[in-house]
Subunit: 126 residues, 2 copies
Amino acid sequence: MSNAKVLPLLEPEGPEGQDVVPCCPPLTERPMTAAEAETAARMFKALGDPVRLRLFSAVASHEDGEACVCDISDVGVSQPTVSHHLKKLKEAGLLTSERRGTWVYYRVEPSVLAAMGKLLTLPAAA
Amino acid sequence: MSNAKVLPLLEPEGPEGQDVVPCCPPLTERPMTAAEAETAARMFKALGDPVRLRLFSAVASHEDGEACVCDISDVGVSQPTVSHHLKKLKEAGLLTSERRGTWVYYRVEPSVLAAMGKLLTLPAAA
DNA sequence: CACCTGTATCGATAGGCGTCAACATAGGCA
DNA sequence: TGCCTATGTTGACGCCTATCGATACAGGTG
Protein backbone atom coordinates (compact mmCIF):
# COMPACT_ATOMS: atom_id res chain seq x y z
CA MET A 1 0.00 0.00 0.00
CA SER A 2 1.62 3.25 1.14
CA ASN A 3 0.61 6.61 -0.13
CA ALA A 4 3.04 6.62 -3.00
CA LYS A 5 0.22 6.51 -5.51
CA VAL A 6 -0.88 9.85 -6.83
CA LEU A 7 -4.49 10.78 -7.26
CA PRO A 8 -5.49 10.39 -10.89
CA LEU A 9 -6.79 13.87 -11.45
CA LEU A 10 -4.19 15.67 -9.48
CA GLU A 11 -0.49 15.94 -9.22
CA PRO A 12 1.18 17.10 -6.06
CA GLU A 13 2.86 20.39 -6.75
CA GLY A 14 5.37 22.21 -4.67
CA PRO A 15 6.22 21.71 -1.01
CA GLU A 16 3.95 24.52 0.16
CA GLY A 17 1.29 22.41 1.78
CA GLN A 18 -1.60 20.89 -0.08
CA ASP A 19 -1.20 22.61 -3.42
CA VAL A 20 -2.27 20.55 -6.36
CA VAL A 21 -2.66 21.20 -10.04
CA PRO A 22 -5.43 19.67 -12.13
CA CYS A 23 -4.41 17.03 -14.63
CA CYS A 24 -6.22 18.66 -17.47
CA PRO A 25 -7.54 21.98 -18.69
CA PRO A 26 -11.28 22.57 -18.91
CA LEU A 27 -12.94 20.41 -21.52
CA THR A 28 -13.84 23.49 -23.49
CA GLU A 29 -10.40 25.04 -23.61
CA ARG A 30 -8.84 22.73 -26.17
CA PRO A 31 -9.20 19.15 -27.34
CA MET A 32 -7.93 16.80 -24.69
CA THR A 33 -4.96 14.64 -25.50
CA ALA A 34 -5.24 10.88 -25.34
CA ALA A 35 -3.34 10.80 -22.07
CA GLU A 36 -5.45 13.52 -20.46
CA ALA A 37 -8.62 11.81 -21.57
CA GLU A 38 -7.45 8.51 -20.15
CA THR A 39 -6.87 10.10 -16.78
CA ALA A 40 -10.02 12.17 -16.59
CA ALA A 41 -12.23 9.43 -17.97
CA ARG A 42 -11.23 7.20 -15.08
CA MET A 43 -12.87 9.60 -12.66
CA PHE A 44 -16.00 10.11 -14.71
CA LYS A 45 -16.29 6.39 -15.12
CA ALA A 46 -16.13 5.92 -11.38
CA LEU A 47 -19.13 8.22 -11.00
CA GLY A 48 -20.88 6.61 -13.95
CA ASP A 49 -22.56 3.93 -11.89
CA PRO A 50 -25.71 4.82 -9.96
CA VAL A 51 -24.74 2.84 -6.89
CA ARG A 52 -21.29 4.38 -6.77
CA LEU A 53 -22.72 7.83 -7.31
CA ARG A 54 -25.05 7.35 -4.36
CA LEU A 55 -22.25 6.05 -2.18
CA PHE A 56 -20.05 8.95 -3.15
CA SER A 57 -22.80 11.46 -2.55
CA ALA A 58 -23.56 9.87 0.80
CA VAL A 59 -19.97 10.26 1.91
CA ALA A 60 -19.59 13.73 0.44
CA SER A 61 -22.73 15.03 2.08
CA HIS A 62 -22.01 13.43 5.43
CA GLU A 63 -20.68 15.37 8.34
CA ASP A 64 -17.08 16.43 7.76
CA GLY A 65 -17.14 14.73 4.37
CA GLU A 66 -16.57 11.44 6.10
CA ALA A 67 -18.78 8.47 6.80
CA CYS A 68 -18.65 4.98 8.20
CA VAL A 69 -19.53 2.22 5.77
CA CYS A 70 -22.36 1.26 8.07
CA ASP A 71 -23.90 4.70 7.60
CA ILE A 72 -24.08 4.59 3.83
CA SER A 73 -24.46 0.96 2.85
CA ASP A 74 -28.21 1.06 2.43
CA VAL A 75 -28.29 1.43 -1.31
CA GLY A 76 -30.12 -1.70 -2.32
CA VAL A 77 -27.22 -4.02 -3.08
CA SER A 78 -25.43 -6.66 -1.05
CA GLN A 79 -22.63 -5.86 1.35
CA PRO A 80 -19.91 -7.31 -0.90
CA THR A 81 -21.16 -5.15 -3.73
CA VAL A 82 -20.98 -2.05 -1.57
CA SER A 83 -17.44 -2.96 -0.62
CA HIS A 84 -16.59 -3.51 -4.27
CA HIS A 85 -17.88 -0.10 -5.29
CA LEU A 86 -16.14 1.70 -2.46
CA LYS A 87 -12.93 0.07 -3.61
CA LYS A 88 -13.51 1.35 -7.12
CA LEU A 89 -14.08 4.87 -5.85
CA LYS A 90 -10.89 4.60 -3.87
CA GLU A 91 -8.93 3.36 -6.86
CA ALA A 92 -10.27 6.26 -8.87
CA GLY A 93 -8.88 8.63 -6.28
CA LEU A 94 -12.25 9.97 -5.25
CA LEU A 95 -12.26 8.53 -1.75
CA THR A 96 -9.79 7.56 0.91
CA SER A 97 -10.43 5.13 3.70
CA GLU A 98 -9.24 4.65 7.23
CA ARG A 99 -10.01 2.00 9.77
CA ARG A 100 -10.78 3.26 13.27
CA GLY A 101 -11.49 0.40 15.59
CA THR A 102 -14.39 -1.66 14.46
CA TRP A 103 -15.47 0.60 11.64
CA VAL A 104 -13.98 1.82 8.39
CA TYR A 105 -14.48 5.42 7.43
CA TYR A 106 -14.46 6.77 3.91
CA ARG A 107 -13.68 10.39 3.15
CA VAL A 108 -13.89 12.56 0.05
CA GLU A 109 -10.93 14.36 -1.41
CA PRO A 110 -12.27 17.91 -1.77
CA SER A 111 -9.48 18.96 -4.11
CA VAL A 112 -10.39 16.18 -6.50
CA LEU A 113 -14.00 17.23 -6.48
CA ALA A 114 -12.91 20.77 -7.24
CA ALA A 115 -10.66 19.61 -10.07
CA MET A 116 -13.51 17.75 -11.69
CA GLY A 117 -15.70 20.78 -11.38
CA LYS A 118 -13.09 22.88 -13.16
CA LEU A 119 -13.00 20.36 -15.97
CA LEU A 120 -16.61 21.19 -16.70
CA THR A 121 -16.09 24.92 -16.56
CA LEU A 122 -17.69 26.96 -19.28
CA PRO A 123 -15.44 29.35 -21.23
CA ALA A 124 -17.30 32.67 -20.93
CA ALA A 125 -20.91 31.91 -21.58
CA ALA A 126 -22.86 34.96 -22.65
CA MET B 1 -37.55 11.24 -33.38
CA SER B 2 -38.76 14.76 -32.66
CA ASN B 3 -37.57 16.82 -29.77
CA ALA B 4 -40.02 15.33 -27.30
CA LYS B 5 -37.21 13.73 -25.37
CA VAL B 6 -35.89 15.71 -22.46
CA LEU B 7 -32.23 16.04 -21.70
CA PRO B 8 -31.28 13.65 -18.93
CA LEU B 9 -29.77 16.17 -16.57
CA LEU B 10 -32.21 18.93 -17.16
CA GLU B 11 -35.89 19.49 -17.17
CA PRO B 12 -37.45 22.32 -19.10
CA GLU B 13 -38.95 24.75 -16.69
CA GLY B 14 -41.32 27.58 -17.34
CA PRO B 15 -42.09 29.29 -20.63
CA GLU B 16 -39.56 32.06 -20.09
CA GLY B 17 -37.11 31.07 -22.74
CA GLN B 18 -34.31 28.62 -22.07
CA ASP B 19 -34.70 28.23 -18.35
CA VAL B 20 -33.80 24.82 -17.06
CA VAL B 21 -33.44 23.31 -13.64
CA PRO B 22 -30.80 20.75 -12.79
CA CYS B 23 -32.00 17.24 -12.09
CA CYS B 24 -30.15 16.97 -8.85
CA PRO B 25 -28.63 19.03 -6.07
CA PRO B 26 -24.86 19.15 -5.65
CA LEU B 27 -23.38 15.82 -4.64
CA THR B 28 -22.31 17.28 -1.35
CA GLU B 29 -25.63 18.73 -0.33
CA ARG B 30 -27.39 15.53 0.62
CA PRO B 31 -27.27 11.86 -0.36
CA MET B 32 -28.66 11.43 -3.84
CA THR B 33 -31.78 9.37 -4.25
CA ALA B 34 -31.77 6.29 -6.44
CA ALA B 35 -33.63 8.12 -9.18
CA GLU B 36 -31.31 11.12 -9.11
CA ALA B 37 -28.28 8.88 -9.20
CA GLU B 38 -29.68 6.96 -12.14
CA THR B 39 -30.08 10.15 -14.10
CA ALA B 40 -26.80 11.78 -13.22
CA ALA B 41 -24.79 8.59 -13.60
CA ARG B 42 -25.90 8.37 -17.22
CA MET B 43 -24.05 11.56 -17.99
CA PHE B 44 -20.91 10.68 -16.06
CA LYS B 45 -20.90 7.31 -17.75
CA ALA B 46 -21.01 8.98 -21.13
CA LEU B 47 -17.86 10.90 -20.28
CA GLY B 48 -16.29 7.85 -18.70
CA ASP B 49 -14.75 6.59 -21.91
CA PRO B 50 -11.48 8.15 -23.07
CA VAL B 51 -12.51 8.21 -26.71
CA ARG B 52 -15.83 9.82 -25.94
CA LEU B 53 -14.19 12.32 -23.63
CA ARG B 54 -11.81 13.35 -26.41
CA LEU B 55 -14.64 13.63 -28.90
CA PHE B 56 -16.67 15.70 -26.47
CA SER B 57 -13.74 17.92 -25.66
CA ALA B 58 -13.00 18.36 -29.34
CA VAL B 59 -16.53 19.54 -30.02
CA ALA B 60 -16.73 21.66 -26.89
CA SER B 61 -13.48 23.42 -27.59
CA HIS B 62 -14.19 23.96 -31.26
CA GLU B 63 -15.33 27.27 -32.63
CA ASP B 64 -18.87 28.09 -31.50
CA GLY B 65 -19.03 24.81 -29.59
CA GLU B 66 -19.73 23.04 -32.83
CA ALA B 67 -17.68 20.79 -35.06
CA CYS B 68 -17.99 18.64 -38.14
CA VAL B 69 -17.37 14.95 -37.58
CA CYS B 70 -14.56 15.18 -40.08
CA ASP B 71 -12.79 17.70 -37.83
CA ILE B 72 -12.72 15.54 -34.74
CA SER B 73 -12.63 11.93 -35.89
CA ASP B 74 -8.89 11.53 -35.53
CA VAL B 75 -8.90 9.78 -32.18
CA GLY B 76 -7.31 6.46 -33.09
CA VAL B 77 -10.38 4.34 -33.66
CA SER B 78 -12.29 3.35 -36.77
CA GLN B 79 -14.96 5.51 -38.33
CA PRO B 80 -17.84 3.28 -37.20
CA THR B 81 -16.54 3.47 -33.66
CA VAL B 82 -16.42 7.25 -33.79
CA SER B 83 -19.98 7.28 -35.04
CA HIS B 84 -20.99 4.91 -32.26
CA HIS B 85 -19.50 7.12 -29.57
CA LEU B 86 -21.03 10.28 -30.95
CA LYS B 87 -24.37 8.54 -30.85
CA LYS B 88 -23.83 7.65 -27.21
CA LEU B 89 -22.98 11.23 -26.36
CA LYS B 90 -26.12 12.31 -28.14
CA GLU B 91 -28.24 9.79 -26.27
CA ALA B 92 -26.77 11.04 -23.01
CA GLY B 93 -27.94 14.53 -23.88
CA LEU B 94 -24.46 15.95 -24.07
CA LEU B 95 -24.43 16.64 -27.78
CA THR B 96 -26.88 17.44 -30.53
CA SER B 97 -26.31 16.87 -34.22
CA GLU B 98 -27.41 18.46 -37.43
CA ARG B 99 -26.71 17.58 -41.01
CA ARG B 100 -25.75 20.46 -43.28
CA GLY B 101 -25.17 19.27 -46.78
CA THR B 102 -22.43 16.73 -46.94
CA TRP B 103 -21.31 17.05 -43.36
CA VAL B 104 -22.83 16.41 -39.97
CA TYR B 105 -22.15 18.89 -37.21
CA TYR B 106 -22.19 18.09 -33.51
CA ARG B 107 -22.77 20.75 -30.90
CA VAL B 108 -22.51 20.85 -27.12
CA GLU B 109 -25.40 21.74 -24.87
CA PRO B 110 -23.84 24.42 -22.63
CA SER B 111 -26.61 24.23 -20.07
CA VAL B 112 -25.97 20.55 -19.57
CA LEU B 113 -22.29 21.20 -19.07
CA ALA B 114 -23.16 23.82 -16.50
CA ALA B 115 -25.53 21.49 -14.70
CA MET B 116 -22.85 18.85 -14.41
CA GLY B 117 -20.47 21.43 -13.06
CA LYS B 118 -22.96 22.40 -10.38
CA LEU B 119 -23.26 18.77 -9.36
CA LEU B 120 -19.63 18.86 -8.37
CA THR B 121 -19.89 22.09 -6.47
CA LEU B 122 -18.23 22.23 -3.10
CA PRO B 123 -20.32 23.31 -0.11
CA ALA B 124 -18.32 26.16 1.37
CA ALA B 125 -14.70 25.10 1.23
CA ALA B 126 -12.54 27.06 3.63
C1' DC C 1 -27.82 8.68 -64.32
C1' DA C 2 -23.29 6.81 -62.27
C1' DC C 3 -19.77 7.70 -59.05
C1' DC C 4 -17.42 9.42 -55.05
C1' DT C 5 -17.13 10.95 -50.23
C1' DG C 6 -18.99 11.42 -45.55
C1' DT C 7 -21.62 9.26 -41.99
C1' DA C 8 -24.66 5.76 -39.87
C1' DT C 9 -26.12 0.98 -39.10
C1' DC C 10 -25.51 -4.10 -38.73
C1' DG C 11 -23.61 -8.34 -36.96
C1' DA C 12 -20.04 -10.51 -34.58
C1' DT C 13 -16.66 -10.85 -30.99
C1' DA C 14 -13.85 -10.17 -27.01
C1' DG C 15 -13.28 -8.12 -22.82
C1' DG C 16 -15.08 -5.38 -18.93
C1' DC C 17 -18.13 -4.92 -15.11
C1' DG C 18 -22.01 -5.29 -11.63
C1' DT C 19 -23.83 -8.63 -8.83
C1' DC C 20 -24.10 -12.33 -5.58
C1' DA C 21 -22.98 -16.27 -2.16
C1' DA C 22 -19.28 -18.14 0.22
C1' DC C 23 -15.41 -17.40 2.62
C1' DA C 24 -11.57 -14.70 4.82
C1' DT C 25 -9.84 -11.12 7.81
C1' DA C 26 -9.89 -7.56 11.57
C1' DG C 27 -11.17 -5.80 15.85
C1' DG C 28 -13.90 -5.76 20.22
C1' DC C 29 -15.45 -8.32 24.15
C1' DA C 30 -16.35 -11.97 27.52
C1' DT D 1 -9.24 -18.33 24.05
C1' DG D 2 -13.58 -18.23 21.59
C1' DC D 3 -17.35 -15.72 19.63
C1' DC D 4 -19.63 -11.94 17.41
C1' DT D 5 -19.89 -7.99 14.22
C1' DA D 6 -17.95 -5.18 10.48
C1' DT D 7 -15.65 -5.15 6.28
C1' DG D 8 -12.91 -7.07 2.45
C1' DT D 9 -11.82 -10.82 -0.98
C1' DT D 10 -12.75 -14.68 -4.14
C1' DG D 11 -14.95 -17.05 -7.85
C1' DA D 12 -18.69 -17.47 -10.87
C1' DC D 13 -22.36 -15.76 -13.79
C1' DG D 14 -24.67 -12.85 -17.06
C1' DC D 15 -25.02 -8.56 -19.16
C1' DC D 16 -23.18 -4.52 -21.22
C1' DT D 17 -20.08 -2.33 -24.35
C1' DA D 18 -16.03 -0.99 -27.20
C1' DT D 19 -14.36 -2.38 -31.30
C1' DC D 20 -14.16 -3.84 -36.03
C1' DG D 21 -15.36 -5.06 -41.14
C1' DA D 22 -19.02 -5.00 -44.20
C1' DT D 23 -22.69 -2.67 -45.75
C1' DA D 24 -26.28 0.90 -46.26
C1' DC D 25 -27.67 5.61 -46.72
C1' DA D 26 -27.17 10.68 -47.87
C1' DG D 27 -25.61 14.34 -50.56
C1' DG D 28 -22.61 16.46 -53.93
C1' DT D 29 -20.53 16.30 -58.63
C1' DG D 30 -19.89 14.89 -63.18
